[in-house]
């Protein structure tokens, strides 16, 4: 019934640095179904951004990938630059955390929008202008005609992020990858942008990948969630399952240490002890074992695979049948 529009399989990303090789992403397999929002949750350095930078072909020069990422019949990891350019910004769009990095500072925002339309869809200037203003209205920018002629620095952070979103949507992409789209924004603005993304998903059937560190953001928008830790997916399930009954100790820990407005305030917040690991010196066995409360001998020696056990997760505790 569901059609996979992006299918990542066995993705590895390695960076060659002066101090040796960094395993940024290891054996990640994910897919996005048509019309759904896949939430990717994890902390800095867990590989959540690099996974999708690799998919977009935007890795730094010292990065190497293996595996495959099939998008509409093309393997993006093996495609040449020309093929990628026909896909990127057209059928596959990306929205970054800082809207200033994706907008050219000296160009009026309207021109930046029409340029995309003229280049990718061959529109003439007049049609492009009309389409751009319509798109600005769709992402709920008030007074789009006036904003059309403004420069990025004249707009607030929330409006800038809407322009970036409008730009991403211009060519009617099948999939929008949003990397921390609301992290730089205030809470009230964040709420509006998330509402907008939800509306785009429901009304226009746009598929999203939502990369974030904030479980609250994922809870409101995603249909399925994948939790990443130290370059690997450690748990993946439907959004309701993962919040109601997380199975991996890391997911449980993340949920527990996020304070909620509904909890009674306690003296001490639950924590996950220790630090996220150094990707150059990953511990043997399960990468999470040094911070895990439920660790046992097998975790130190052997890496658990991502397998069914309540949810799709990588923890021996849930794989009793397989063990």
């Amino acid at each position: 019934m569901t059609q996979r529009i992006l299918d990542i399989s066995g993705l590895n990303v390695r960076f060659a640095t002066e101090d040796g090789e960094v395993a940024a992403v290891s054996d990640v397999s994910l897919h996005v179904n048509k019309g759904e929002c896949l939430g990717i949750v994890g902390e800095s350095g867990c590989g959540k951004s690099q996974t999708f930078m690799a998919v977009m072909g935007l890795l730094a020069a010292n990065g190497k990938t293996t595996g495959s990422a099939r998008f509409g019949g093309i393997d993006l990891l093996k495609a040449d630059e020309r093929t990628l350019n026909t896909v990127r910004g057209n059928r596959l769009a990306m929205v970054f955390q800082d809207p200033m990095t994706s907008l050219t500072p000296h160009m009026r925002v309207g021109r930046q929008l029409t340029e995309v339309l003229e280049r990718h869809r061959g529109m003439d200037a007049k049609a492009a202008r009309a389409e751009a203003i319509a798109m600005m209205a769709r992402v709920q920018i008030p007074e789009p005609e006036r904003r059309f002629a403004m420069h990025p620095h004249e707009l607030s952070g929330g409006l800038r992020q809407r322009i970036v979103l409008a730009m991403a949507l211009l060519c009617g992409p099948e999939l929008v990858i949003a990397d921390e789209p609301t992290t730089a924004l205030d809470v009230t603005v964040q709420a509006l942008i998330l509402d907008l993304m939800r509306e785009l998903k429901e009304k226009h059937g746009t598929s999203f990948v939502l990369i974030t560190h904030d479980l609250g953001v994922v809870a409101g928008l995603a249909d399925r969630v994948a939790v990443m830790y130290a370059g690997r997916v450690v748990e993946s399930a439907g959004v309701r399952e993962i919040f109601a009954a997380p199975r991996h100790p890391y997911t449980k820990g993340l949920l527990a240490c996020t304070p909620r407005l509904t909890d009674a305030p306690t003296a001490v917040l639950p924590t996950i002890p220790g630090q996220p690991p150094d990707l150059q010196k990953l511990p043997p066995g399960c990468s999470f074992h040094p911070r895990c409360a439920a660790v046992f001998d097998r975790c130190r020696a052997e890496r658990p695979a991502l397998a069914e056990g309540g949810t799709l997760n990588a923890c021996f505790l849930n794989h009793t049948v397989a063990a």
């Binding site: 205030d186 809470v187 304070p259 909620r260 305030p265 630090q275």
Partner: protein, 336 residues
């Protein structure tokens, strides 16, 4: 809990901003902070929340006299800080410290962790011997959860959470009475955030610290604060004991902020009503007349444009600056 450490009255910080012509410009005051008052007792935490540009960071710095105040008074243990000279101010500052948002940027990259933590000691205890200083630094490192063997390491060799612990150790080494925490956990990962919040609360209890905890994260502020102040465009909207503010917020801005906090629960997140704010944050150079919040307020009426609201008191210690605070707004109880 009785001693009033800090008494801030009508604090104002205005920056002159040049507007207008190329040659003959006029100066318009940017009112970063415009008439904020509060008191703080030992062992108490005041949470300061608001969105970017509301003046919350300015408040922290103006209290510590790191920024010159334009008007109002900051009294520290009964002494006015505003008119102290540099030397007297340095002496008073010994008991007031600050923890910054960006853990790495707040540490000098060329100095070791030990030198960074010892810096206040060098400034305030010039006669302390090297060995004594080192022992004190090592002890402090232990108290903030850092291995004291890391004393010779440099900031770039620590993780973000550890850097923030170094920043906290530096702030705590002189046994301060007041610590301003300016978004101390915003730059940290979720799993590290809780550790640092716990550390701050533990140190506060042990040292009977007064704390000003500035943050945009209302969930964390709720966890750590005794009282909470909500700022908007440099003015106080509402200040109240924690439970009163979160259970029964009176100001529409507070209500909007609370309803926008993302909830890590899919059912609630999708079902609850949201009080959306209309429009954009007005320019602080040209704030609206009357109530500054009126341009985005769902309850705004004619009176809001004409008269600046005065303080109303819906409860003990609960002050709100709104003409319409009695009208029930959105049902903001977030609990299911």
């Amino acid at each position: 809990m009785s001693e009033t450490l800090l008494d801030v009255k009508d604090l104002k910080v205005h920056y002159p901003v040049r507007t207008g012509g190329l040659v003959i410009g006029t100066y318009t005051p940017l009112k970063a902070l415009d008439g904020v008052s509060f008191e703080l007792k030992a062992g108490e935490t005041l949470g300061v929340v608001g969105e970017s540009g509301c003046g919350k960071s300015t408040l922290g710095r103006a209290v510590l006299q790191l920024l010159p105040a334009t008007g109002g008074a900051v009294a520290w243990l009964g002494r006015a800080l505003n008119d102290l000279d540099a030397k007297a101010l340095k002496a008073e500052r010994e008991r007031m410290q600050i923890v910054f948002q960006d853990p790495l940027a707040s540490l000098d990259p060329r100095m070791t962790a030990g030198d960074i933590i010892a810096e206040p000691l060098r400034n305030y205890r010039p006669h302390m011997s090297k060995a004594e200083m080192k022992a004190k630094v090592k002890d402090m490192m232990g108290r903030v959860g850092l291995h004291s063997t890391m004393i010779n390491r440099y900031p770039h060799e620590f993780s973000g959470g550890q850097c923030q612990r170094i920043g906290i150790a530096r702030a705590m080494i002189l046994d301060p009475k007041l610590v301003v925490c300016d978004e101390p956990v915003s730059a940290l990962d979720v799993s590290i955030r809780a550790q640092v919040v716990n550390l701050l609360m533990e140190l506060q209890r042990a040292m009977n610290l007064a704390m000003i905890f500035i943050s945009h994260d209302l969930s964390i502020v709720r966890h750590i604060s005794h009282r909470v102040m909500v700022l908007y465009l440099g003015k106080t909207m509402e200040i109240a004991p924690r439970d009163a503010l979160y259970a029964a917020p009176r100001h529409p801005y507070t209500q909007a902020l609370l309803s926008a906090v993302p909830v890590p629960d899919p059912t609630i997140a999708r079902a609850r009503p949201r009080l959306a704010l209309a429009g954009e944050l007005p320019s602080p150079l040209n704030p609206p007349s009357g109530c500054v919040f009126r341009t985005r307020c769902p309850r705004a009426t004619k009176v809001c444009a004409e008269v600046e609201p005065t303080r109303a008191q819906p409860g003990t210690g609960h002050d709100v600056w709104c003409h319409h605070w009695r009208e029930s707004g959105l049902e903001t109880k977030v609990a299911p």
